[in-house]
């Protein structure tokens, strides 16, 4: 029982630390330039990933890039407004599987790693994007 209480206290102590102000995620991603570089690397990886490239054949690359940058900027607190379609609408009929979605996440992580984004900033962006999986996976 002592151990259980100890574990609970540990969790509380750690959660308490969360109230410290965090530097803006947008800045940690390298600002607008950083996000543009991440998205560019992400697009290259998606397009050359044999697991999921087929999903993007009919996608307009210029618009896709623009909307992704907007979305990452908005989600990271960079003050942008996302003007694209909802995740549900934009992925309707694409038959995105769990396997596809994970492949996409891996490509995004690889793109962030290539830009030397810190583990913390990677995780905080993924935290913002993860809930979208329910609207994307069929």
């Amino acid at each position: 029982m002592k151990q259980v209480i100890g574990m609970v206290m540990l969790v509380l102590a750690i959660t308490g630390c969360q109230t410290r102000p965090q530097s803006a995620l947008f800045d940690d991603l390298g600002g607008m330039t950083g996000i543009e570089n991440i998205v560019d690397g992400f697009l290259v990886r998606l397009g050359s990933d044999p697991r999921i490239a087929a999903h993007f054949i009919d996608v307009d690359p210029v618009r896709f890039r623009e909307k992704l940058i907007e979305q990452f900027c908005a989600e990271s607190g960079g003050g942008c407004e996302y003007t694209g379609d909802s995740m549900k609408d934009s992925h309707a009929g694409m038959n995105v599987t769990h396997t596809d979605f994970n492949a996409l996440v891996e490509d995004l992580i690889a793109a962030m790693e290539a830009e030397d984004v810190s583990v913390s900033a990677q995780n905080r962006l993924l935290k913002r994007l993860a809930p979208m999986s329910k609207d994307i996976i069929e």
């Binding site: 750690i14 769990h98 996440v105 583990v119 905080r124």
Partner: protein, 304 residues
């Protein structure tokens, strides 16, 4: 010994890969480390506490599995484990494990080892460990049998029976809830896992099932908490409550601190400092004054 087991493990992975290259293609579409590692019982989890996670990296559209070898060395004994598990569509997992405990500690003539076979099935009820707000929740059953010989020096009983165990086999039922909080405190991903188990097992079944103090099932709680330093390294701790069934053999709760390394989706290595508490009794004298069985645990898992 451990090298022989690891050899078997490597062979297992190679043959499984060869198998996979044939008709029955396996998949590894889950995110790195979300296959967890293999517990001493054979199911996916940490070292001593299972998780709601199913073995391997197969997604909802794939299947896959793992083989693993482990060794625990404490002050007075060594426990070797060898296990295999296979999961289908991230929905149901089947596992088998053999545990072998050096029995020298019990000072019983003609007894060298205590063995158990573990057969597990685990089904994911709902949730996804990474993506859903609710945790991933699974229900599992673990049938274990103590496969020890009758010992003449013990009047024809097995070692567990001689210690007062009521049965040589038993089934645990458990419910596990596991969640990874992405981007939690310090921007790290945190793993939180809780288990409720119904069991009659003495020392995880190595010393039989039930006893003179308690023949019936006990409900025990288990838990793990961990933090991913990055996508390759997970550190944390586990706690596993134990029932008190035998007058002759007091059981303490098990606990450990672990570090797991996931270099890629094919391999993982787990090291832990384990404390099993007091395992023996006044009737079975120890060589050490400190009766707590503390030691080091090492496990390697290969996924296919």
């Amino acid at each position: 010994m451990i090298f022989r087991w690891m050899g078997i493990c490597i062979l297992g992975v190679l043959s499984a890969n060869a198998f996979a290259a044939g008709k029955l293609a396996t998949g590894n579409g889950r995110i790195l480390a979300t296959g967890a590692v293999t517990t001493i019982d054979g199911t996916a989890g940490g070292g001593i506490v299972p998780m709601a996670i199913l073995a391997g990296y197969g997604t909802n559209e794939q299947h896959g599995g793992v083989v693993s070898a482990s060794r625990l060395n404490t002050d007075d004994f060594a426990l070797n484990g060898f296990a295999a598990a296979w999961s289908w569509h991230n929905r149901v997992e089947f596992s088998v494990a053999r545990q072998t405990l050096d029995a020298g500690i019990f000072k019983i003539p003609d007894v060298e080892e205590l063995r158990t076979n573990n057969y597990g099935v685990k089904a994911r009820l709902f949730g996804d460990v990474l993506y859903t707000t609710v945790p991933q929740v699974s229900i599992g059953a673990m049938y274990r049998e103590s496969i020890n010989r009758d010992i003449a020096a013990l009047g024809g009983a097995t070692v567990p029976e001689a210690l007062g165990a009521k049965s040589n086999y038993g089934t645990d039922y458990y419910l596990a809830a596991t969640k990874v909080f992405i981007g939690g405190p310090f921007g790290r991903n945190w793993l939180v896992n809780g288990v409720v188990r119904s069991t009659r097992a003495n020392q995880g079944g190595l010393l039989g099932f039930g006893g003179d103090l308690d023949e019936e099932r006990s409900t025990v709680a288990e838990g793990s908490i961990g933090v991913f330093l990055n996508k390759h390294w997970l550190i944390g701790g586990e706690y596993r409550e134990q029932p008190e069934n035998l007058t002759f053999l007091h059981q303490d709760d098990w606990k450990d601190l672990f570090i797991a390394w996931f270099p890629n989706k094919q391999w993982s290595i787990t090291a832990a400092l384990v404390d099993l508490g007091e395992v023996s009794t006044a009737a079975v004298p120890y060589e050490n004054d400190d009766r707590d069985q503390r030691g080091a645990y090492l496990s390697i898992t290969g996924a296919f």
